[in-house]
Symmetry: C2
Subunit: 369 residues, 2 copies
């Protein structure tokens, strides 16, 4: 398979502001071109927009706004997993030889229609993701004897880490007590257990091996890709305390990269809700089943930013179409040693985990220097 590199990126801050989707796309894409001013826009073969927004033809609109006339242009949607789906599409366009350089821009407004799971009647009236997250939390706590206080640490850790990310939505830290005392949404879920909807955008530029080396001295290579869709309906999950699609996607990605999980130095994990972080770490093999919280506690206590250095979805906010792209940018920055005061020590292998709708689908990427 032909190599594909990541050669540039741009972010907006994640905010609660009421911005038009076109403005968000424009801002993150302009940010990319501002910090990569040597890029020849005429060489960009494809512009992919990752979003759940209902506006149409956004890739052609973005292209026109920033002065690109690509060959390929379309929007990609797979709920929260849209951004990494778009990156994998970009990879395939380049690896197949159909494109040399691909721009992926992900964006969302705080009021994204992707936040309500309208289709799933197995959920009865409970179409908001907090309901599946609540059932996951109850099941996971019961199965592995985990307390509310334990799960609250995910939120405490990720809000803490987000304070070192100027683009993050969260602007303050919280204690375990703060999390437990925050608004009770369901029996098993408090407000601070949840990532928050917000407006935000993230852009990334991918290129063929030859073009990558021309554009930058330090391309980051996508060495592993794994994806799996098990169902669309929450109740079709094999169990309510594990993530089957994440397990499959992680195994495939590591196999393709010829790596094992112990070689991964830094990871972005899809913590849409606090319970998702230990469940995903277990599914990926970072810890044994039921021991994800032990790893998280240890990292938190030692102030180790290995998992979700940018603050995770809980700390950063969760603009659906932008999230997977933003996660990938964070791993690129960590591998390039440019993550400022949240930089880990000499990471060489990074991993991105993204998923949709109670982990009914997952994408895992392995990135390397």
């Amino acid at each position: 398979m032909n190599k594909v590199g990541i050669v540039g990126y741009g972010n907006t801050a994640f905010t609660k502001e009421d911005q038009k989707i076109e403005s968000i796309l424009h801002n993150c894409t302009n940010q990319l071109f501002k910090t990569n001013s040597e890029i020849n826009k005429n060489l960009i073969d494809a512009v992919l927009v990752s979003t759940n927004n209902n506006s149409k033809y956004l890739s052609a609109i973005l292209s026109e706004m920033v002065g690109i006339q690509p060959k390929i242009a379309h929007s990609i949607e797979s709920l929260c997993n849209s951004g990494t789906n778009s990156i994998v599409s970009a990879f395939s366009y380049i690896s197949s030889g159909l494109a040399d350089i691909v721009l992926v821009s992900g964006a969302e407004r705080y009021d994204s229609p992707g936040q309500i799971l309208e289709w799933d009647n197995s959920r009865g009236e409970f179409k908001h993701p907090i309901f599946w997250a609540s059932i996951f939390s109850k099941s996971y706590k019961q199965k592995f004897n985990i307390s509310e206080e334990d799960l609250a640490i995910v939120s405490v850790k990720n809000h803490k880490q987000a304070q070192k990310n100027p683009n993050a939505l969260s602007k303050k830290t919280y204690s375990v007590e703060d999390v437990l005392n925050s608004k009770k949404l369901t029996e098993d879920l408090r407000l601070l257990d949840c990532s928050r909807p917000c407006s935000g955008g993230a852009s990334i530029l991918l290129a063929s091996e030859e073009m990558s080396k021309k554009i930058t001295d330090e391309p980051i290579w996508i060495s592993g890709i794994g994806q799996k869709t098990t169902s669309a309906g929450f109740t079709k999950n094999e169990s309510l305390f594990s993530m089957t699609s994440t397990k499959h996607a992680g195994e495939s990605a590591l196999k393709m990269a010829n790596k094992n999980i112990s070689q991964v130095d830094v990871a972005e994990i899809h913590d849409a809700f606090s319970v998702c972080e230990p469940m995903a770490l277990e599914a990926l093999g970072f810890s044994k089943t039921g021991e994800g919280m032990n790893l998280i506690k240890k990292l938190h206590e030692t102030n180790n930013f290995k998992i979700n250095p940018r603050g995770g979805l809980i700390g950063c906010g969760h603009p659906l179409g932008a999230t997977g792209v933003s996660q990938t940018i964070e791993i690129v920055k960590q591998l390039q040693q440019s993550a400022d005061n949240r930089q880990l020590k000499d990471p060489e292998v990074g991993l991105v985990h993204n998923m949709s709708a109670a982990a009914t689908s997952s994408t895992v990427l392995v990135l390397e220097k």
Copy 2:
């Protein structure tokens, strides 16, 4: 570039019925599996849904409905050009080696939100495609001394051809007088000059070279792909009587296939409005500039179905996300000699032309036996 074959397809009839988008997707996909019952669903790596519908996560929903657990699953939108964008994505997944078999299902409801061009303020209050089509018609007629009667022949021909396609929306033929006497929508456009919105779905299965040969004795190969996006806004078009994006896409596709236009035996052309057919034929090189209508008249008079054998968008109806897939299926059928009473004599090379929003973007595919 690794070869990619088309190994199966399924259609619904195009109708004015009020069906749910999930039902349409289900119906065309089931049709595919009914006529290709030997397909092992466990081997399908990706499910791509082509649509302008606002429902989210449709690819995972479709996968669950038909019993597939793919790796890759997402929706693709680029207005009328969504279907061929999805087919090119499928091609790239397979050609890159990320997938062996990919299902593409395109579907739309008669009330698709993609029919109103909400974003383009250069259109003033005229956000419905009939307005750009009207300006194209006026310019094209003036520039090349074409009459209303001339343009009406496109509609007469395509309605006639649609009568041999049981899935087409049109159930009757019209005379030039009928077209001219149909409801006047603008100074330059009558109702029968327009393709009509409708509900419909079309599914196609693509596979790697090795897998294609295992699945069928007569795979159809995608030998050429060309795409171009020039802008999103109508007024950015280089001229109002030619299609720049189609010209670029056609040249690229023929070059990749190592063919010239005279070798193309059958073509599906995006006749969203009558004027689009001669303009596209000229952009693709089927005729000289300004002479597209001469070719169309000659084909009509000799009852030659070479251009738009299934009846075009004007005869078939235009369910946006399904159109590009349905066009591609028609060329597959023609090359496989299975187009029943609209079969052309021994075609070996076929072409699909699809576009969006006043030809601001185009896709061209070359297909061969």
